[in-house]
């Protein structure tokens, strides 16, 4: 019953037309993108992706150690999407994020210490502890907030794009969402208006293949890309595990949007290495262990970039280890900062209800 993907042959699926959204690698060539990336850029991408990876692993540890209130939805496995897209943006461009949003926030420039502090409900956190894992917002980096309503930020991103257009600012807005949001009506209302009014908004659908605990193949009729194409929106489906592909495509569609050519829809095929949230340990009832292993061993975006860096002689193992050690130290310092930070003063409970 489980479709165990193999990225050369495509998936066994109820609807063969959906193969395009599976692990099967899309046809697009990555050669141009690959050759366009400088060593500095490639190493920067690696640092960014590894930062997200190690951040999330630390979050999992905090959860397992009962040091973190509530839950967290880990982004591990999808790092190439957040980093590839955000590296194509300016600091003043906007993003909206999701319940699985730590990667987006970090990729857009959030700092580790304030992120950890927010996850622990501490005063120096991005939202003074009022938002938590699912609501990190940082206006200084254009992050209009992670959103815990699936698809709930489609309006915010589209409105931000409309605002940018009205103000003549040439900013663009990126709306990150998972394929689960394809079931929400709001997304289609917004895509319709974005296309009608040529708004500079990019809808990034991270198809990690699971709507919580249900395969998207059980919830999604027809072809994903066709839905956006029906609105006359420029649509691309790409390999979301290859940061160079994601970045190259993002650069092109961001430029399109910035120059007034209108919205785009970017479907990134990816995979959620962990469960829906940190407590989702037994996943056998909705996906096969073997499938997870396949993705982790063959399609890990961090490993893929590390391999490419070595193959193209931009970095050796020693340098990569050194980078990892640096980031691990930074993570350690940041999490210590957050663990030692004060909680908000209880009187803050009814502050910020109204501006």
């Amino acid at each position: 019953m489980f479709a165990v993907p193999s990225y050369d042959t495509g998936l066994e699926t109820r609807n063969p037309r959906l193969i395009v959204a599976s692990m099967a690698r899309p046809k697009q060539s990555r050669t141009k993108a690959a050759s366009a990336l400088s060593r500095d850029q490639a190493l920067h991408f690696y640092r960014q992706m590894l930062k997200v990876r190690l951040f999330e692993e630390q979050v999992n540890q905090l959860y397992l150690g009962a040091k973190m209130p509530g839950l967290a939805h880990l982004y591990i496995g999808q790092e190439a999407v957040a980093v590839g897209v955000c590296e194509a943006l300016r600091r003043d461009d906007y993003i909206t994020s999701t319940h699985r949003g730590h990667g987006h926030c970090l990729a857009k420039g959030a700092s580790l210490d304030k992120m950890f502090a927010e996850l622990l409900g501490k005063a120096p956190g991005y939202c003074r502890g009022k938002g938590g894992s699912m609501h990190i917002a940082d206006q200084d980096t254009g992050n209009l907030g992670a959103n815990a309503i699936v698809g709930g930020s489609a309006g915010i991103a589209t409105g931000a794009a409309m605002s940018a257009k009205m103000r003549g600012s040439d900013q663009v807005a990126v709306c990150f969402f998972g394929e689960g949001a394809l079931g929400q009506g709001l997304l289609y209302e917004e895509m319709n208006m974005a296309s009608l009014w040529k708004l500079p908004v990019i809808y990034v659908c991270e198809n990690n293949q699971y709507n919580e605990y249900t395969s998207y193949r059980e919830t999604t009729a027809g072809e994903v890309a066709a839905r956006a194409e029906a609105f006359g929106i420029h649509t691309e489906t790409i390999d979301g595990q290859d940061v160079q592909v994601v970045h190259a495509k993002s650069l092109a569609i961001v430029e399109r949007a910035r120059s007034g050519e209108g919205p785009a829809f970017l479907q990134c095929n990816t995979y959620r290495f962990h469960g829906h949230h940190v407590g989702d340990i037994d996943r056998s009832y909705y996906r096969a262990k073997k499938e997870e292993e396949e993705w982790k061993s063959r399609r890990d975006p961090v490993k893929l970039l590390a391999e490419w860096l070595q193959k193209s002689e931009m970095a050796d193992r020693k340098l990569l280890d050194q980078i990892e050690a640096e980031i691990a130290t930074h993570i350690k310092e940041s999490v210590d900062f957050a663990l030692n930070a004060p909680y908000p003063d209880p009187i803050e409970v009814n502050q910020h209800v109204y501006a």
Binding site: T96, G125, A160, M166, E190, N192, V353, Y354, A355
Partner: protein, 339 residues
């Protein structure tokens, strides 16, 4: 508590009689002239000027880039309003019928209302969402509800329920300048109601009730359309020797509790009249405010009159029974006063 008023007095100098619809139109036009960030988005808002013609002429002055006809996508335009408001604009989202706010609820309740709080005070949503309330237009169950209680329940939103052209204009201007999301309810049956409105600039702060009539025997606390029902009831009561004071709350959030409590302490009796459903409604909230703040002054139980708890029926014979009338208010007031 504001007396009926310094604003009215100075206003009377150069005032004209204009309709409620014209007052709304003027408020929008003035704010759009004053602030280039203000724009209108909604269904049939531009050339059509809305089915109620409230926005007539605005597109001529401000163009289709600031008076934007949208698809029939209430959730979508509310969402665009939230995003635009967060990023430097001051949108006025037009939701034609109050019943349609049900379609915008995620954007209003989970997004607009919470963004300032969730972000620890960093992000703001200075958006106005204008919509309508009110039955007796023979529009049946999906075009007649008064759902302002729903939004008054949600921390983070402000809710205005003006009753006169003067209040509507002053409150709408304040709402547009407010840094919070404000839901602005206009009674669709009052659009042609005329009232005195000064020619010059003025605003009315959100959260300040207005004494629409001074009296001694009973307080009628009313909202929106029900202020006029209360005024008519007060006229009838005067003939029977009962002096009714009318408090128009003007905004349900913030609620001017002090004005309500002070009035009831003086009169010792109160009826709360509102066109929303009675069950769990605005009347219940205000009655509890009175019970809590003026308990030892009361000579009678606080009574409530809201819309009958039924879907609004179409047939006039049925529909007219569902909303409070001057007669029902007056009869209840007589009873409370022992007449």
């Amino acid at each position: 508590m504001k007396a009926p008023t310094q604003a009215t007095t100075s206003a009377q100098k150069a005032s004209r009689e204009i309709t409620f619809a014209q007052a709304i139109n003027e408020a929008l036009a003035e704010e759009m002239r004053r602030d280039p960030r203000v724009f209108i988005i909604g269904e049939d808002v531009a050339e059509a000027g809305t089915p109620f013609k409230v926005l007539s002429g605005l597109v001529k002055e401000f163009g289709t880039k600031r008076v934007i006809d949208s698809p029939i996508s209430e959730a979508g335009i509310a969402g665009i309003g939230v995003g635009a408001a967060m990023t430097g604009m001051r949108p006025v989202v037009d939701i034609m019928f109050g019943d349609f706010i049900t379609l915008t609820m995620d954007q209003l309740v989970n997004q607009a209302a919470k963004i300032h709080y969730m972000s620890g005070g960093k992000l703001k949503v200075p958006m106005v969402l204008r919509t309508t309330l009110g039955a007796t237009r023979r529009s049946a169950a999906q075009h007649s509800q008064s759902l302002h209680a729903w939004l008054s329940h949600i921390p983070g939103l402000k809710v205005a329920v003006p009753s006169t052209p003067y209040d509507a204009k002053g409150l709408l201007k304040s709402a547009i300048r407010d840094d919070n999301p404000v839901v602005f309810f206009e009674d669709k049956m009052m659009y042609q109601l005329k009232g005195s409105v000064p020619a010059g600039e003025y605003t009315i702060p959100l959260g300040v009730a207005d004494v629409k009539r001074v009296g001694n025997d009973i307080t009628l606390v009313a909202t929106s359309s029900m202020v006029h029902v209360a005024l008519a009831a007060a006229e009838a009561l005067q003939g029977a020797g009962v002096s009714a004071e009318i408090i128009d709350v003007r905004t349900t959030v913030p609620l001017d509790k002090e004005a309500i409590i002070e009035s009831v302490k003086k009169t010792t009796r109160a009826i709360v009249v509102d066109e929303g459903y009675e069950r769990y409604g605005v009347t219940a909230e205000i009655a509890s405010v009175i019970a809590d703040g003026a308990f030892y002054y009361l000579d009678a139980p606080v009574k409530r009159l809201g819309a009958m708890d039924v879907p609004v029926p179409f047939s006039p014979v049925l529909e007219d029974q569902t909303v409070p009338t001057a007669e029902t208010v007056a009869a209840l007031a007589m009873k409370l006063c022992g007449r």
